[in-house]
Symmetry: none
Subunit: 293 residues, 2 copies
Amino acid sequence: MAPILNALDHEMSKLSHMERKLAERILASPGEVIHMGIRELAEQCGTSPATVTRFCKVFHFKGFPDFKVKLAAEIAQSDYGLQDGSSSYQDIVAGNPLSVIVEAMQSNHLASIRDTTSLLNIERLESVVDLLCKARRIDLYGMATSSIVAQDFYQKLIRIGVNCTAFSDSHMQITSASTLSKGDVAFAISYSGETPETIDALSCAGASGASTIALTSYGSSTLATNADIPLFSSSLEQGMRRGDMASRIAQLHIIDILFTGMVSTRFKDYIPKLEQSYLNVQQYRHKRGGQMK
Amino acid sequence: MAPILNALDHEMSKLSHMERKLAERILASPGEVIHMGIRELAEQCGTSPATVTRFCKVFHFKGFPDFKVKLAAEIAQSDYGLQDGSSSYQDIVAGNPLSVIVEAMQSNHLASIRDTTSLLNIERLESVVDLLCKARRIDLYGMATSSIVAQDFYQKLIRIGVNCTAFSDSHMQITSASTLSKGDVAFAISYSGETPETIDALSCAGASGASTIALTSYGSSTLATNADIPLFSSSLEQGMRRGDMASRIAQLHIIDILFTGMVSTRFKDYIPKLEQSYLNVQQYRHKRGGQMK
DNA sequence: CAAAACAAGAAAATTATTTTCATATTTAGA
DNA sequence: TCTAAATATGAAAATAATTTTCTTGTTTTG
């Protein structure tokens, strides 16, 4: 599966002192090594370029550049392998070089999307899509980070002519919620599921007769319990305070599924509007560009 | 699926005669090209090494060796993907059942994050993180979908006490841009890289003396060309009008990396602020909850 | 305890890549 | 149409990267 890195590890005992240092460095972060020069790698291992070249030849590569290209290919493949199975969330701590952050972030976001997808309940999603399609009016509630997700959904829905509004002001949320009635939908978003403003708004909407949907991180939360239909994004390990980054990506993933589901089931109604809104923006731009010249 | 080869194909019309020959040769058998020297490739295309180097820079690579390593990684990925067929971007069409949509969406979002990560230039990211950390003031520009990304970044930066603002109003963008000066940073976001309002704002910011950063989809665009430092998220096949969904996820992925990079390099300055802002929100809520009961 | 074998770096040689510069070609404007 | 500017391109110089050679010091072995 990973012939090169495997070989480095396995042949470790047969290598000389400096060669072992090289092998260790490469195994530690191969992703970094493929972007290094021979001089740089040698320095980092307290050795000389000559030794690096010899090292590459020991493993039957033409030279260092050849080694890099082959290693890059191997890494790309094994990164891909992450897709099936091992999903681990990495916490990010002080002083990490950017290359480590990039890898950790990729790993977190991939895991987050995968985990969220596997938690999805198709039937429940279908009910939500159906409710949203039939809704006379849709209210979106979300504070802080979750307001970003709400705004995103809002922009999408507007483009297909759905009557909806996104609120991040807690007073406006409640005000709007109290004017909803049967056939309307309130859609509340909260990472923790414990944001009091959002809980209040959704409860109020439910009391007014609207259907209520909650999108929160997986686990029993007040918001999810109060909703007619709860949807869940994957939750990260507790205490990872910076973990709402992956969660937001997962929530947007769900939003995309819901939106695409709406467009797909009501193709004939929505697609022309989507095309039209796209073209209108283009045309407006063109006109403006012409005027400016 | 294959951002580099895709870009070569897609940008073909914008390339010059010799550059097109190069693109064609590379597309014909990329697997061969990654094992060639610059001289060899030049010869096979009846051109000079100089043109090859320039060609690589057009596509924002550091140089020919950098191009080879990145291409090797991409080929390895797509080869692997062919085995289970799940790695390509899927377009979503009418009447698809939700289960298909869910799978397609997962595939798209995963591919988007992986592709974007593989395109990242660590040194460039480091420069951006450095600029952002040292900035006296940061302006964020983005229209429509991109304003969501800008808002997201804004919320993060505010939490660590950075002096910044996110604009989606084109007049405000320009107004603010013209008041920037040396030591300030303008950060523009656009999926297409051709949003006129955003281009104007970034140019204006540059003229005012600020450092300019662009975040766009991969490929040569006006916005990227005008920026001091361009950053790229992976681009989808043309014509996939609903494709900005994956792009937005990829852009948020980059924002997360930048933000985490800032926090990580300036741990001592930022973390206390981050903790404090978190605790303050909690405390405020608790107080409010008490009063209401 | 020598002689052979090996490891490893310094520096030279080679090779690869990038940049500069001069020239040819195309494009845009008068 | 002609000229000026912009662009494209290759030759060659400059730079950088890599490999090889040569030397030295170390370990191993008889």
